[in-house]
């Protein structure tokens, strides 16, 4: 949310009354803006110490879609109307005998096709209103203009220029002028180099740098007004003494173009000799289309009292709603043809209003959110947890009861932590990679819970041994068949760290959770069992040779994992084997066929790994003790929860 600093004394003068900080805070709260800070105390203290101090300010946060509240002029106007101290001002276009014109050249279509202007006549600035005028442009540039990317504003002393104006786009070497606050002329190419070193402008250069043509605005005498969105010219710059202001706005879309020119013109038209009057300009597009700018007409729309009442649980008459809307600067009257309908004229300063629901909200704000009735929805529904949450909680409870400590590492990690440090190779088939992380800590979404557990142990090396930690949470892997090209998989993992590696301890933890899930262990002598889990020795670079095993699961009856499902959803995703380069499907198939040959079952699924971590792995994670680890997917163990509705599929 943008924060606007306004002069406290000026604002209270405009509001026609003084407020204590608390009173003003309350007013802001009800209206939907937020008093962030009142600098009065700070200023008084500085004055007491004899330090230089500015005038006391109120720093007010305004909603990001209320461009009409980005300056003291707009805030004061809106609050005065809200407090019923005045009616919403009516902005009017005052056409001169002969309207100034501006033409748009076809080349602008390549870079910034839309152009608008407006003229404010006989303006009288004070130093503070002048500063506010500059600040509003800056606020608009930072917000709706998206750092000048979408829209850029230039303001000029009209008396230094001669119409008509031309908005063109030219190759940078064909542009030469004296820019604001420079004493010499430069070509646009030169300027791009010079501004590279000027921080406040350097951040806008990318918007046009690589374009073959740059936007540029000239007057009749070929004098440059602006090179949007970078800089204005020195020649036409406005000062405190400027009487007649020419506003130019360029944009990549017409909606934002109009919003911005309207806001600048309407906000500062109050300083014109005839307040709230704006002189239009005729803009001629290359296709001959002529637009009279700015278009400050209001938009007529209707809102139904019945709709507003049903949304707010109020029973207001149409007249009452209309008068509440007046307080929100919306011109409103009851429709002569339909008493339920309120005709609303949305002023050009309220582009945040799209729909009847926005008018409903303004009614509710004017009524007071905190004055609304408080009811309780009668919606009667059945509570229901997700199957995956129930299963996860079961594992968490059992393991905690078994003496293990739950930890909560981050889901994002570095590429090395997820691969190299676990002696795993990235085959680019599993891990989801981030494009714009701010630090190397966040390069990939983990495909294993092990890095987080090992980092937690590293940070807790001083904890008395043994350290036994677990996590039950999601990893994510690529999935070409899914719309978002990925899916989460709920894993459970645990690491034991002590002076001896303790394989049998993590094995015991696995046995315990399987016992709780009523999955029996399959031994060599019970290998014809129809349901259960077993370990099968494997070579895996994450683990110590001879101390690693795959965990296999043989589902009961109709297996949830058929052959075809498995090729879509390899349960071994993210395991070392897959990352080692053999591809996920191949890896699972190979594992399954190996299991088939030994155990004569076609349905066995590899669900995870168990073993003593390789000494090079614990070394990478700076753990000075041996560790045993266990990680497996919980997906095959989910128990379906009942459907809430009978007609659910």
């Amino acid at each position: 949310m943008p924060t606007v600093a306004v002069d406290k004394e000026d604002l209270f003068e405009r509001l026609g009354q003084s407020y204590t900080t608390e009173e003003f805070d309350h007013l802001c709260f009800e209206f939907g803006i937020e008093l962030d800070e009142d600098t009065t105390v700070e200023v008084e203290e500085a004055v007491k110490k004899g330090l230089p101090a500015e005038r006391p300010q109120l720093k007010i946060e305004v909603p990001a879609n209320r461009y009409d509240l980005l300056c003291i002029e707009g805030i004061a106007r809106a609050l005065r109307v809200f407090l019923q101290k005045q009616k919403a001002p009516v902005y009017k276009l005052v056409e001169p005998a002969s309207m100034l014109t501006a033409t748009v050249s076809p080349e602008t279509a390549q870079i910034r096709p839309f152009f608008a202007c407006a003229i404010l006549r006989n303006v009288a600035f004070t130093p503070r209103s002048y500063a506010s005028f500059m600040d509003l442009q800056d606020k608009l540039h930072q917000n709706i203009c998206r750092r000048r990317q979408l829209v850029a504003i230039g303001t000029h002393d009209l008396d230094t220029l001669e119409p008509p104006f031309r908005y063109e786009a030219r190759p940078p070497n064909n542009i030469k002028f004296k820019p604001l606050n420079k004493s010499e002329e430069y070509t646009a190419t030169e300027l791009m180099n010079i501004y590279e070193g000027e921080k406040h402008l350097a951040r806008y250069l990318h918007i046009i740098r690589d374009s073959p043509v740059y936007p540029i605005i000239y007057d009749k005498q070929d004098r440059v007004l602006s090179m949007p969105p970078i800089i204005n010219s020195e020649h036409s710059k406005i000062t405190l003494d400027t009487k007649n202001i020419f506003i130019d706005v360029t944009a990549t879309d017409e909606t934002k173009l109009n919003i911005v020119v309207n806001i600048v013109a309407t906000m500062f038209s109050e300083y014109c000799a005839e307040p709230y009057s704006i002189e239009p300009v005729r803009v001629v597009y290359p296709d001959g289309r002529t637009v009279i700018q700015p278009d400050i007409s209001s938009r007529r729309t209707t809102a139904r009292a019945s709709y507003i009442n049903s949304c707010t649980a109020l029973s207001l008459s149409s007249e009452e709603i209309a008068s509440l809307l007046e307080r929100m600067s919306l011109e409103a009257s009851v429709s002569p043809s339909n008493p339920d309908e309120i005709q609303v004229d949305v002023p050009c300063t309220r582009p945040d209003i799209f729909h009847e629901c926005d008018i409903m909200e303004d009614t509710a704000i004017a009524y007071g959110f905190n004055n609304l009735p408080r009811t309780f929805p009668t919606t009667s529904t059945v509570a229901q947890p997700l199957a995956v949450s129930k299963l996860s909680d079961l594992v968490r409870q059992e393991w905690a009861m078994a003496g293990w400590v739950e930890v909560l590492p981050l889901i994002l990690c570095s590429h090395d932590e997820n691969f190299a440090w676990l002696n795993r190779k990235d085959d680019n088939q599993t891990a989801i990679k981030l494009a714009n992380p701010k630090t190397a800590e966040y390069q990939v979404i983990r495909t294993s819970l092990l890095p987080g557990l090992l980092k937690t142990i590293r940070e807790n090396r001083k904890h008395p041994l043994p350290i036994r930690v677990f996590e039950t949470s999601d990893i994510a892997v690529k999935d070409k068949s899914a719309e978002r090209q990925s899916r989460n998989i709920r894993h459970a993992a645990a690491v034991w760290c002590n002076k001896t590696a303790g394989f049998e301890i993590v094995c015991g933890l696995l046995d315990r959770i399987m016992a709780m899930l009523e999955v029996p262990r399959i031994f060599t002598h019970t290998e014809n069992a129809t349901h259960g889990y077993y370990l099968k020795e494997t070579e895996d670079p994450t683990f110590f040779p001879g101390r690693a095993a795959k965990i296999f699961y043989r589902p009961k009856g109709n297996p949830p994992y058929s052959e075809s499902q498995m090729s879509q959803t390899p349960s071994g995703s993210g395991t070392a084997q897959e990352a080692a380069g053999s591809g996920p499907i191949a890896a699972v198939k190979e594992a399954v066929s190996a299991a088939v040959s030994k155990l004569k079952s076609t349905d066995d699924v590899e669900i995870g790994l168990i073993g003593i971590l390789h000494p090079t792995v614990v070394e990478k994670f700076e753990i000075p003790y041996p560790c045993s680890a266990l990680e497996f997917t919980l997906e095959p163990f989910m128990k379906e929860v009942p459907h809430i509705w009978a007609d659910d599929a």
């Binding site: 799209f354 729909h355 509570a383 090209q485 990925s486």
Partner: protein, 503 residues
């Protein structure tokens, strides 16, 4: 030995009625009475044992004794500086006088410097030419003798004046010496029963518990911590939130989708494509996989239309539309992406729309600079109620009940802006400790531009609210730095010690 000493104390008291001064005792195995501090501490140990059985009582006394400093000990071992100097010089007339330089080399700078002066003063040595010689055949090294006596007895027969002189020379210091007077206790006896510390199975079997004497128990001592594990505090708070939702009849929404597309995370929620939330500075984008598959065509077209030209009574954003922005993959910035997907499915389910109350608590991601209160990952708690004809009053009333279950009774609502809710309400609660209103969550009614393209029937309103799981947890556990709550830097100890959550 400990028992022998206890027996000695009991016997001595039995014989002499009391022990006036424990320094008169001779600890069994020692040659001399227990006059040193070390010996008295051993005696105190024995007295404490007897005291716990209430066999004796004792009182502590203080005396002062003298002990040698490091330098004093050195002198007692090797002799005084002057004696050392004297010892290395040749007797007058019996050898080459020792030059000052050679003396320093032999005995060291310090001894040479201090020793010379005193040896001259005592008339032990004299100067001869450039060197020094002994004047006397033998000396009496009084300093050393006195120090040796103090070391052995803690005092000096020569009296306070001599001691004061040695203290001035920093060879001797005063030390406190504790000693004790012991009397009979209420259970006094000369027979030292072995006291039992614990009731055992053998005692129950043999009946020995009936006659055994038990050691007095120290109820101030802490018990042994149990060996159990622990659940993470943040997830304990998550459980409490889940319970609150379930108590109110909410079903859990599936959210197992960290990666979302611009379409589901923003477009479907009527977040404009040029909205700052979609900036690289705020959102993690995915580089691999490169982009999402096409969203459901019919729905996609409706969403695009409501953004670009409006519809359903809305004028829309009337801004350019980018298919590429819709297809961009990103880490969800809110779980509302999942809610939106679920609401769309709900609108299009076979049996038609049914009213729902749903919740989720899951991880979301923001590409923000991290600090004490912000991490790149946090948990969002979200609730959604969809039904015909529900209102803002229902939302506010519902919030009141929801937060009351968390012990928050005083709420007020501020109008706010959120692209997908209208009205949007920020929820503030009065924080008694901070003595001010603090924002605790966001809520609102989903916009028609979001709901209508999904195909939800007319008249269905959807209320939604969200808050972070971390914030109430930090308040609950008094945590100031989020890194001590979430992530690998959290101490296991703090997980083990975090209290149960009872709002």
């Amino acid at each position: 030995m400990a028992e022998q000493l206890q027996q000695l104390i009991l016997d001595t008291i039995d014989r002499e009625k009391e022990i006036k001064d424990t320094r008169t005792l001779t600890i069994p195995g020692d040659a001399a009475p227990a006059t040193s501090q070390e010996a008295q501490l051993v005696v105190q140990g024995a007295l404490n044992s007897l005291l716990s059985k209430e066999m004796v009582t004792y009182s502590m006394q203080e005396a002062f004794a003298y002990a040698l400093t490091q330098e004093g000990n050195d002198i007692a071992d090797k002799g005084s500086h002057e004696a050392v100097v004297w010892s290395v010089l040749p007797l007058k007339g019996q050898g080459t006088p020792l030059s000052i330089k050679d003396l320093k080399q032999k005995v060291g700078d310090e001894t040479a410097k201090i020793g010379q002066g005193r040896a001259f003063k005592n008339g032990w040595i004299a100067k001869e030419g450039d060197g020094l010689v002994k004047l006397v055949q033998s000396i009496d090294d009084t300093t050393r003798n006195e120090l040796a006596e103090i070391r052995a007895t803690g005092t000096l027969a020569a009296g306070e004046k001599a001691i004061a002189e040695l203290r001035k020379r920093k060879l001797v210091q005063q030390k406190k010496l504790l000693w004790f007077s012991a009397q009979k206790g209420s259970n006094f006896s000369t027979s030292l029963d072995k006291l039992e510390t614990d009731l055992t199975a053998e005692m129950l079997q043999s009946g020995a518990w009936k006659t055994a004497k038990f050691k007095k128990y120290n109820f101030d001592a802490e018990g042994i911590p149990p060996n159990g594990g622990a659940l993470h505090p943040l997830l304990k708070v998550r459980e409490e939130f889940r319970n609150i939702f379930m108590e109110m009849g909410f079903a859990e929404m599936p959210t197992s989708q960290f990666v979302e597309s611009g379409f589901w995370c923003f477009d479907t929620l009527f977040v404009p494509q040029q909205h700052p939330a979609r900036d690289l500075q705020d959102t993690f984008y995915v580089s691999d996989p490169p982009e999402s598959l096409s969203p459901p065509t019919d729905y996609y077209e409706k969403v695009q239309k409501v953004h670009t030209v409006g519809g359903y009574g809305s004028i829309g954003y009337r801004a350019p539309w980018s298919d590429a922005d819709s297809r961009k993959l990103l880490l969800r910035t809110h779980t509302t992406a999942s809610s939106s997907n679920l609401l769309w499915r709900l609108a299009n389910r076979k049996g038609g729309f049914k009213p729902v109350k749903m919740f989720s608590i899951d991880r979301v991601f923001r590409n923000e600079a991290t600090d004490a209160t912000h991490l790149a990952e946090f948990h969002q708690v979200e609730g959604v109620v969809a039904d015909y004809g529900i209102s803002l009053a229902d939302l506010i009333g519902f919030m009141q009940t929801f937060f009351k279950k968390m012990g928050i009774h005083n709420l007020r609502f501020k109008p706010a802006y959120n692209p997908y809710t209208e009205p949007s309400l920020e929820i503030f609660a009065f924080h008694p400790m901070l003595d001010k209103w603090v924002e605790i969550g966001n809520s609102g009614m989903f916009r028609p531009e979001m709901l209508a393209p999904m195909g939800l029937p007319d008249g269905v309103q959807v209320l939604g609210w969200g808050l972070s799981l971390e914030r109430p947890t930090m308040i609950r556990y008094g945590i100031n730095n989020i890194r001590t709550l979430v992530g690998h830097k959290v101490s296991i100890d703090s997980v083990e010690k975090s209290a149960a959550v009872r709002f």
